[in-house]
């Protein structure tokens, strides 16, 4: 289930789907310090493609050692099926830098993750893949979890949220609304599905000028603390 679009068959960079506005069902993972080893365990890191990680998302939590579904795990509950928004605890995505964690979340179907805080590398990896990581206050996340439990977890209903990146706003249409902060650079990247390399190469002449300065530094002309190593 839940293999999202945009995966494609190519092994390399896929076209990033812009994120402007999204409404979807919420899955809750009310745990702090969810590390990327849990999101995608190491035995699945041997692939040389960017795709194929969705089925292994949270593998050791989703599946029992015999391979059967673990019904107690939050994402296996009926109301979490088809969820596209994940609400989680603080320090989400800590640990290993593996971008495979974001590829797995994205391929499984998640377009946005809401948490009180994210690990730095994971946050950057989300932006690179069109996945919106939204930082809300611990109180706001607690309120979302309460509403999710009341609307979904308890009654079997589905709790839905709308996220508007242009407006930097999250709301549930039932009285919850919150603003969130995001750096303008990341926001632009997500809104337009920009390729960061292409964006950087727009200032290629400045990179070339910097390299020219480095070469001068090697002759002692500049005060740069270190130059590139020489090939031995």
């Amino acid at each position: 289930m839940g293999v999202g679009e945009g995966g494609g068959a190519g092994a390399g960079r896929v076209v990033i789907e812009p994120f402007v506005r999204h409404t979807g069902a919420v899955a809750a993972l009310p745990r702090a310090d969810v590390d990327t080893d849990q999101i995608i365990p190491k035995q699945f890191l041997k692939r040389v493609e960017r795709t194929g990680f969705g089925p292994a998302l949270f593998y050791d939590w989703r599946f029992r050692p015999d391979g059967s579904l673990n019904p107690a795990f939050e994402l296996n509950r009926p109301e979490a099926q088809g969820a596209t928004i994940l609400v989680a605890g603080a320090n989400f995505g800590c640990g290993s830098s593996r971008e495979h964690a974001v590829w797995a979340l994205s391929e499984y179907g998640f377009r946005a993750i809401l948490a009180p805080s994210f690990a730095d590398i994971f946050y950057a990896n989300c932006c690179q893949n069109g996945v919106l990581a939204v930082c809300l206050s611990p109180e706001e996340i607690a309120e979302l979890l309460r509403r999710h439990a009341a609307g979904g977890g308890g009654g079997g209903g589905v709790y839905r949220l709308s996220i508007d990146l242009a407006e930097q706003r999250v709301e549930d249409g039932a009285g919850f609304a919150a603003r969130f902060a995001i750096e303008a650079y990341r926001r632009e990247m997500l809104l337009h599905g920009l390729d960061e390399i292409g964006r950087t190469l727009l200032v290629d002449s400045e990179i070339a000028a910097f390299e020219c300065g480095m070469r001068n530094a090697e002759c002692g002309i500049d005060e740069r603390p270190s130059g590139p190593r020489e090939r031995s």
Binding site: G10, A11, G12, R13, R31, D35, Q38, P41, K42, Q43, L45, K46, V48, E49, D60, P65, A90, N91, C94, G95, S96, S97, R98, E99, H100, V102, S117, A119, D120, I121, A124, N125, Q128, N129, E183, A184, Y185, R186, E188, E196, I197, T200, L201, V203, D204, E206, I207, F210, E211, M214, G220, R224, P225, S226, G227, P228, R229, E230, R231, S232
Partner: protein, 479 residues
């Protein structure tokens, strides 16, 4: 001029461009590459028709996935083999130097960078691995990046980075006997929490840091990421220069003299300010042992497994209960005395020659307890060769340790070196996450001497008492 921190000096020297919307474009001096996080990046280059902009500033090695057994045998796992082959093919195609399994200098990426003298003060260093923070021990700004960023650096030799905040971690006093750099960093993480330095670059300062060797400083900076910091730094000094002098890729002759002169300026200026400051008295730190499933779940070996009821919030109580259930531990159980099944000596945190020496010192003339499987996985083949020259391999083998080839091995269990469900492991690695060393495996992080003592005792012990039990130990240590 405004006083600047070490971080600020290195950052300022590398700004290529400032995006009006926030981040800076920073020039990368050294890009380290390994087999797990790079294949998709190289494929991206190929698809876009791009080349590696500065192949001579890019160095690749195989470490995460490699078997650590007999190198003469073919790799059994075809998927692992494919990943190693992919890196070899990419290195050839894009003109990148590769330390492969045949290289006598192959090893863990964060061990070989410093060992070769590739890692130098003042550099910006990146690698698709969170423990890149290790290289900050030289006064470099070294950060772990994701695969998309790896591709970006390959293509542009630059990294887009929003300026982090700064934190000074001042370690004062003198660490007691039997207390290592690993204990200091674990104690710091325990004190500020695993997200304590998120969004920050840590600069480690103070007498307790100055007293450390380069390898010990690497252990400290290595685990910065376990406190949430993408990078940790230590200002270079005579210890740094002495370590680097004569390394294969370090500057030589007049270039060396010029470099050292420039490196001496890489200190935080008096009066430079940090966004946050924390302190730790090294003299008060006992040997540390983790009891839970996050590096911040740590206490002194003299301590006991905590009681979830003693935590102030619901979230913490839940997290601790969950960790204890996974670890198979009851509140109040003393950590010393806990029986173990496995011992792992190695990793980018503690797989260097000084780590092996410290562990061998404890093991010498003793045997691994029956029922315990213990292995030593040197951080690089050069570390392995050095240890063999010193006879450490014999010390370990005679004690019943497995003596293996270099790689990440059981630190993350991507290769065949993994724990079985329920096995309890004394490990010198950096992460005790659920399943990190194998599904259902129970990891206790500690220093090399502590892990070595645990191997011999078959249970967690306080290495300080262990040393007292040994006749002649102190004489040997003094000689």
């Amino acid at each position: 001029m405004t006083p600047r921190t070490l971080f600020r000096k290195v950052w300022d020297a590398h700004v290529v461009h400032r995006f009006p919307e926030g981040p800076a474009l920073l020039y990368v001096d050294l890009h380290l590459v390994h087999e797990v996080t790079s294949p998709q990046a190289f494929e991206g280059l190929r698809q876009a028709g791009r080349r590696v902009r500065r192949p001579e500033l890019t160095v690749a090695t195989v470490d995460h996935n490699v078997p650590t057994g007999d190198r003469a045998l073919p790799i059994e796992d075809p998927v692992s083999a494919r990943q190693l082959d992919a890196l070899a093919a990419n290195a050839r195609e894009f003109g990148v130097e590769l330390f492969d399994l045949r290289s006598p200098s192959q090893g863990i990426v964060h061990v070989i960078g410093p060992e070769q003298g590739l890692t130098q003060p003042g550099m910006i260093i990146v690698c698709g691995d969170s423990h890149t923070s290790t290289h900050g021990a030289f006064g470099a700004l070294a950060v772990g990046i994701g695969t998309s960023e790896v591709e970006h650096v390959l293509a542009t030799q630059c990294l887009v980075w929003s300026e982090p905040r700064t934190m000074e971690a001042r370690l004062t006093g003198t660490a007691g006997p039997g207390v290592t750099a690993k204990d200091l960093i674990l104690a710091l993480i325990g004190s500020i929490g695993t997200a304590g330095a998120t969004g920050h670059v840590i600069e480690y300062t103070g007498d307790a840091i100055r007293a450390l060797s380069m390898e010990e400083r690497m252990t400290v900076c290595n685990m910065s990421i376990e406190a949430g910091a993408r990078a940790g730094m230590i200002a270079p000094d005579e210890t740094t220069f002495a370590y680097l002098a004569g390394r294969p890729r370090a500057p030589t002759g007049a270039a060396w003299t010029r470099a050292v002169e420039a490196w001496r300026g890489l200190q935080s200026d008096p009066g430079a300010t940090y966004d946050r400051r924390v302190t730790l008295d090294a003299a008060r730190v006992p040997p540390q042992v983790t009891w839970g499933t996050s590096p911040g779940m740590v206490t002194g070996v003299t301590g006991a497994v905590p009681d979830p009821a003693d935590y102030p919030t619901d979230d913490e109580r839940r997290a601790v209960s969950r960790a204890l259930e996974y670890m198979g531990l009851e509140p109040g159980t003393p950590l010393a005395g806990l029986p173990i099944d496995r011992v792992f000596l190695g990793s980018c945190t503690n797989g260097r020659i000084e780590d092996l020496r410290a562990a061998a010192q404890v093991v010498r003339g003793r045997r691994v307890a029956s029922g315990v499987r213990a292995m030593v996985v040197p951080g690089s083949q050069l570390v392995r060769a050095q240890a063999e020259r010193e006879g450490l391999d014999r010390v370990f083998r005679e004690a019943g340790f497995e003596w293996r080839n270099a790689g990440c091995s059981m630190c993350l269990g991507m290769n065949p070196d993994i724990l079985q469900p329920g096995e309890r492991c004394a490990s010198t690695s950096n992460r005790n996450f659920e399943g990190r060393q194998g599904r259902g495996g129970r990891t206790h992080l500690m220093s090399p001497p502590m892990a070595a003592a645990a191997a011999v005792a078959g249970r967690l012990v306080d290495v300080r008492e262990w040393a007292w039990e040994r006749e002649g130990e102190r004489e040997r240590a003094a000689s």
